[in-house]
Symmetry: D2
Subunit: 150 residues, 4 copies
């Protein structure tokens, strides 16, 4: 269902990595870009004991945060070089317990528009790629105004 | 639209607080229960520099995490004393920039069922309750099995 | 949580009604605007035997269709007079069986932006306003281009 | 990402078709099952002039209705023979204008659980399978009680 995307900005790779590096949250979560292509981003992150829910599993909030970043940077990779990206909304389904030591969140663009980009993502244990623990659909917005606003 | 709810468990308050205290994630985010009633939970949390997105605002992942907890504990407050609560899914809209120093995430039950509970929530700057930065709708599930599963 | 909205277009009422009248789908569903104010629209519609699911209840698709219209026209009422409105996405929770003879779908604006408007809605049996059968959150987009595109 | 599913009910095909035939809404929309396999259902439907939005395109409500059915029957195909299926919630993104004369809505199971099943779907013009006009994620519930309830 997914076509190949041609980035508008030939330097999309360094632009995405610079923005990712500027997110303190990604550093706090020890999240790392594992793969990056036009319209697709994979981010790896570990279980951390300080980021658990009441049964000791990885907190869904961590999974949502990184998967939202994977979707956001997948969208951002196709935007022009003067655009900022904002998440308008996302919906997440938590479909299996998050009991692994390390995960991969993968986001890809479904539809790239001038203003809005639609992405889907999934997160799975790094060694069980066929057993996703969560899936996401999100809407991202390209912002060209100097002052960021919705 | 919201009726008064009668809790099945008279000790709902201490049960909710014990579960909240067991979430390491809430401690990491310095999140605190500000108000708790049957079917309604408010949680306060501060901006932290280690939890920001690329423009220095509070990361949407933090907001989603705490608002999901507010919704989850609103649902949990109405469940019987032998039930665990799991988030099945949620959808969040990010509607204003998160530029405050402190926020309140408020979750309330819309419909309480035997298996599923539907909640809605909003998050706003602590001193601007009429200017929500995000809204959420979520589905929570009561689990009675010893072994937690979806 | 909801502020009073001031319409940009003083003729918002007739503009909304003209667009509603142009939707053949609303005529087919015998849907009627019951109330209309800036940022808020109520639409009434009956059960019809040709629009049922497998147990003979009103089909969720009918409920979603009318509630999406209520949200869309609530958004449209606040847009400038040269704008068209498109639904970007919505999420619906079906929370009670749809067993009534007549329903009201109510949509209101949560946040009105230049490009995007966020709405929430609910649908309930006309004689049971406190027992909603479904709730919705949606994102609507103002389109000013001559040629409609996302 | 999608594994092969083994149906619990060997007569899943006739059970799905019987339930589909009982939905008056599908008849009204001239919707037909085009393909049916364990965990996957395709439904075709035409544009009809009585089911349009204000610009004359196929109404999003029709697309959502049929795609919800495709997801619902994909889930139902994997349920035991004494179960009924209910849609708990879905989220739809409308990503391209619906300007075709005929569409295919395709739904497949992402995760099949004892109580809940998670599905994803897409709808595309029958002659443009790589250009989806809408995508959906939904949660379906198996109901075994004699009296249907959420």
């Amino acid at each position: 269902m997914q076509a190949a995307f041609v980035p508008q900005d030939p330097d999309y790779d360094s632009r995405v990595r610079a923005s990712f590096a500027a997110q303190a949250m990604m550093t706090t979560l020890h999240a790392e870009i594992a793969d990056l292509a036009p319209g697709r981003v994979d981010i790896d992150f570990p279980h951390q004991d300080g980021f658990t829910q009441q049964h000791g599993f990885t907190h869904a909030g961590v999974i949502a945060t990184v998967m939202d970043s994977a979707c956001g940077y997948a969208a951002f990779s196709l935007m022009p070089d003067d655009a900022a990206v904002l998440t308008v909304e996302y919906k997440i389904n938590l479909i299996r317990p998050a009991q692994s030591h390390r995960y991969r969140a993968s986001g890809h663009v479904v539809k790239s528009g001038r203003t809005l980009t639609i992405c889907q993502g999934s997160t799975y244990p790094i060694d069980e790629p066929d057993e996703p623990i969560a899936i996401m659909t999100g809407t991202l917005m390209a912002i060209r105004d100097a002052r960021i606003q919705h």
